[in-house]
Symmetry: C2
Subunit: 557 residues, 2 copies
Amino acid sequence: MKAKEQTLSIFALGGVNEIGKNMYVLQYENDLLIIDCGGKFPDESLLGIDLIIPDISYLEQNKDKIRGLIVTHGHEDHIGGIPYFLKKLNVPIYATRFTLGLIEIKLDEHKLLRETECIQIDAESKLKFEKISVSFFKTNHSIPDCLGIVFHTPEGNVVHTGDFKFDLTPVNNQYSDIHKMAEIGRNGVLALLSESTNAERPGSTPSERIVGEHIEEAFKKAEQKVIVSTFASNVNRVQQVVDASIKTNRKLALLGRSMVNVVSVAIERGYLNVPEGMLVDARDVNELSPEKVTILCTGSQGEPLAALSRLSTASYRDVAILPDDLIILAAGPIPGNERNVTRIIDNLFTLGAKVIYGSGSSSGMHVSGHAYQEELKLMLTLMRPKYFIPIHGEFRMLHHHKVLAESVGVESGHTFIVKNGDVVDIQNGEALQTRKVAAGDIYVDGVGVGDIGDVVLRDRKQLSEDGMLVIVITLSKAERKIVSGPDTISRGFVYNRESEDLIKTVNRLVTNTVTELQEENIHRWNVIKQAIKKSVGQYLFTKTKRKPMILPIIIEI
Amino acid sequence: MKAKEQTLSIFALGGVNEIGKNMYVLQYENDLLIIDCGGKFPDESLLGIDLIIPDISYLEQNKDKIRGLIVTHGHEDHIGGIPYFLKKLNVPIYATRFTLGLIEIKLDEHKLLRETECIQIDAESKLKFEKISVSFFKTNHSIPDCLGIVFHTPEGNVVHTGDFKFDLTPVNNQYSDIHKMAEIGRNGVLALLSESTNAERPGSTPSERIVGEHIEEAFKKAEQKVIVSTFASNVNRVQQVVDASIKTNRKLALLGRSMVNVVSVAIERGYLNVPEGMLVDARDVNELSPEKVTILCTGSQGEPLAALSRLSTASYRDVAILPDDLIILAAGPIPGNERNVTRIIDNLFTLGAKVIYGSGSSSGMHVSGHAYQEELKLMLTLMRPKYFIPIHGEFRMLHHHKVLAESVGVESGHTFIVKNGDVVDIQNGEALQTRKVAAGDIYVDGVGVGDIGDVVLRDRKQLSEDGMLVIVITLSKAERKIVSGPDTISRGFVYNRESEDLIKTVNRLVTNTVTELQEENIHRWNVIKQAIKKSVGQYLFTKTKRKPMILPIIIEI
C-alpha cells in the first residue's frame, strides 16, 4: 500500500551546528512527529536574553499533521522549550515516567498542566499513527529513563539515538539495551540520527560508577560537613552521594530549588532511594554535628544566584561553610562557565574549605554522559544505517562524527551534515537534501517571546559598551530660537570631575549646531537631530574614543 | 652600617588573587623599586572596559623614592600598564633587549618614547641604589629574554622569579640558569616571590621542543597552505614554524599587526632567525603555489577582529582559506575565550580546511610556559627561602603553591598569602603582615583612565540587559498642567507590533501620575520623576518581566 510518490522528510529545527534547543522532525504524508523541544542558554553577546528556543513557524503552518511530541529525556536542551511551544501548539507529549515528572514541573510553573495531554511511555511502548509506527530502546545517559526511538515508516526504519553513552557498569541498573539495538540494526536501518557531543574525543567515557567510588573515598576521609554540587537531574550521581552518606552516617540536606524539585520527583517516582528520616531541612543543619551532614546543592556551573555561589560568599542564610568542610564539585564546567566556577572555588578556599574540583573528569568526580568516539562507532556498527545524519553538536563535532561513520562503513556521500531547517527527503530509498524549511533562534526575554530582534540587541550592545547621552533642547516655534537647554543627561558614559567640562562643551556644540541651522532656515527636526548626533558624536570620539548612543530630544513650543 | 629600626617592605599592587596586572614593590628606606607594570583584560561583566591597570596612588605619594621600574619579561600582563604608568610617573625602565623592544612599541604608540629613559640590562647586570643592589638570573618562559631578580638588601636577599618554567631542552638556547639559582640559594634567601599560575597542575610542563616536532610532522603531511596561529611573542615557537617552513620549502607571510610588530623586533634584535627572502607580503600569497606558503597569524584566542577570525569568515582581503588548507592553533585558549575559539574552528571546518586544535597541550601544538608543581618545587628547593610569598595567581593557585612550599621545607607560618596592597614588613629577620597600602583596579575605557566607576558600570549593565525608556513631558509653569507629551522613546527594550500598545499605556500612566500629583499641588520635579519611574517601572515589570532604565525628562515652560 506504499504510495511511491510519497516522501519521508527528516530535519532539525534546532540542535545542529549548536549545542542546545534540540528539535527534530520526521514527516511522512499526514504524520508529522516531533522529537524533543529544547532550550538553549544564550552566550554573553545576547544581552539580557534569558533563553533561546526554536522557531516553530513550519510546525504552526502544518499543525494539522502533528501527531505528537516525543521526548527522549529530561535535560533542559531537550525539554526547555516545551512551555513556549505549548502556548502556540497544543500537542500530546510522549515521554517516560521520569521525563514526564520534569516536564510537569515546567508545565505547572507556566500554568499549562491541566490543558496538556501527557502520555507516559516506556521502552516497550509502541505508538501507531496513520503511516508511521514508533518503538523505543533503552539508553544510558546522565539522567534516568532515556529512550532511543525507532520510526517504522513505509520507506524504512529511522533511528534517533537521543543522548547516550554506553555504560556497561551502570548505576541503578540504567543499562543500554544493546541486544535490542543489535536487533534493530539486523532488521535494517534506513537512516540514523545520532548525537555528536563528544565526537572529538578519542576512546570511551568512563562509567558513572567510577564517580561513586571517588565520592565514597572522599566521604570516608572527610572530617566535617561534605557539600556536593552537581546537576540535580543526574539522579544516579545523587544516588551515589546518598549511598556514601549512608555509609558514613550522614544526614542529607538539599539546597536550591531545582535540587529540591528534581529529587522530589525522583524519590516519588522510584528513581532515587533515600531511606526514611535521612533528609533534613537546611535550617536544621546547624543543629547537627558537622561530620553527620551532607549537603547536596545546585550551582555547579557557577550560576551567581544558585546555592553554591551563595555558600561561597557566606551569604546563604541557613548554612555556613566552615574551615575543613569538604566541597566536591561533581560536574564539569560547560564551556563559557569556567570563570564563574573558578571564582567560587577561590572563595571556598578563602573560607578555609577543602575543595575537590577539576576540568572534565580529571578530579574523578565527574564523567561525561555523552558517548566518546569508540562508543559512537559502536552505535553506528550496531545500527548499520544506509544514511547517517549526525545531530546534537557544533559543526566540527558533526564533521568528526561523519569521519567516524565512514570509518565503520557508512558509504561516502551517505552522510548529511545539515543546518537547522535543511530537509533530507527520502524517496524510493534514495536520500537528497535540496530544500529548506524556516528555522532560527527565538529569544525569550522575561515574558516576551520573540519580541527582541537585532535592532534591540544592537542598541543594548552600544548602550552596554559606551552608555548614552540624552540631549534635550526646547525651541520656540514662533521665534525660531532656543528657549531652554540644551540639557545633557548621561548614563553609563563617564562619571567624574572631568566629565562636567565634557558635558559643558557638548552643550555649547549643540547650541552652535542648532543656531547655525536656524540661521540657514533649516527647521526640520530630523535634520537638526542628525546634525547634533554628528557633531557631538565626533567630538566625544575624539576626546574619549567612545561612541555613546546620542539621543537628541527637541521640544517645540 | 645597618639601621636596625629600618624595615624591608614587600607588597603587590597587582598580580595576587588574579591573573594579570602584575606589579610588585620592594622598599627599604629611600629605595623603592617596582617590578613589572602589567595590564589585565576585563571579563564580560566589565562592560565596555578595554583594560585594567593597577592603582598606583601609593607610588604617586612616594614618587621621590622610586629608583626604577624593572621588567622581568615582555608579556602584556607585565608591561601592558606601562604607558598609563609613565603618564603619571616618569621613571627609568630597566629591561632586557627583547623586552625593551616590545615596551618601545607601546611607548611609540603612546608618543612616550622620547621622554622615557630605557636602560638595557641582561642577566649579568648589577644595579646599585642607595641601600639595595640588584642582580639577575636567566629563566625560561614562553617569550625570549626573561629574568629572575635578586634584591640584595641590608635585611637579606629577596628573589623574584618572574614567570618561568624549567625547559631542559630549550629552543634557541633560552636556558634556565640553574647553577646561578643554586648559588643564590646557597648564599641565603630571606624571601622568595615565585609565580603560581600552574600550582594546581601535577608533574612538569613539557618542553617547547615537543611542539616543534609536532609542527614539523604536520608541515610534512600538509598538501596546501599551512596557517599557524600563535602568540606573536612566543618567538621560540615562531622560530620552529620558520624552521618547519624552511624544511618544507615554504615562504612565510605574517598577518596581524602584533605578529608583524613583534616578529620585526625579534628579527632586528637577533632573537629570530629568518633567512633572507623568505618573508613575503600577504598580498603576494595568492601568486604562490599553495604548498609553498606558510602563514603566521594573530587571533589564536578567538579575538573577533584579529586575522584568524577574519580568515575563518572569508573576510580577509588578501588571503582566502581553501579546501585542504591546514590550520594549526598553536596556543591554548585562555579561560573565557573557549567559545570564541570554537566558533572559529567551526567556521574553518565549514570552509573545508583541516584544523589541528585541542585544549591545553592535547593537540601537541601547545605547551604551557608556566612551571607545574614539580618545577615549582625545584625552584623552592634551589632557593631555600626563609619566607615565601606566592605571587601571580588566583587564590586557589597561591593556596596550592603554599602547600607545595611546605612540602619542600618552608616552615609553617612562613608563607604569606597576600592580597594586593598587603605589606609584608621584614625587620631583624622577622616578617609580619599587618598593614596595607592602597591598591585596586583602574579601568581604561578608550582614552579615559579611571573615569569609569561602579555607577557607570551598573548603568551599563542595566542598559545592556533591558534597555531604556526616555519619557519627555512638557509642563506649563503658569497653568500647572501638561502642555505636550508624554512622549516615550525606547532603545534596547522591545521592538515589535505589541510594543506600540505597551508604549501607549506607558504614556497614559505618566499622564495620570502627573495629573494626580498636580491636583495634589505637588510640583517638585524630583517627586514627579520618582512617581513616573515607580508607576511605569511596576507596569513594565508586570507586563514584560524586564526592568529597563526609565529616564523621565520634564520641561517646564
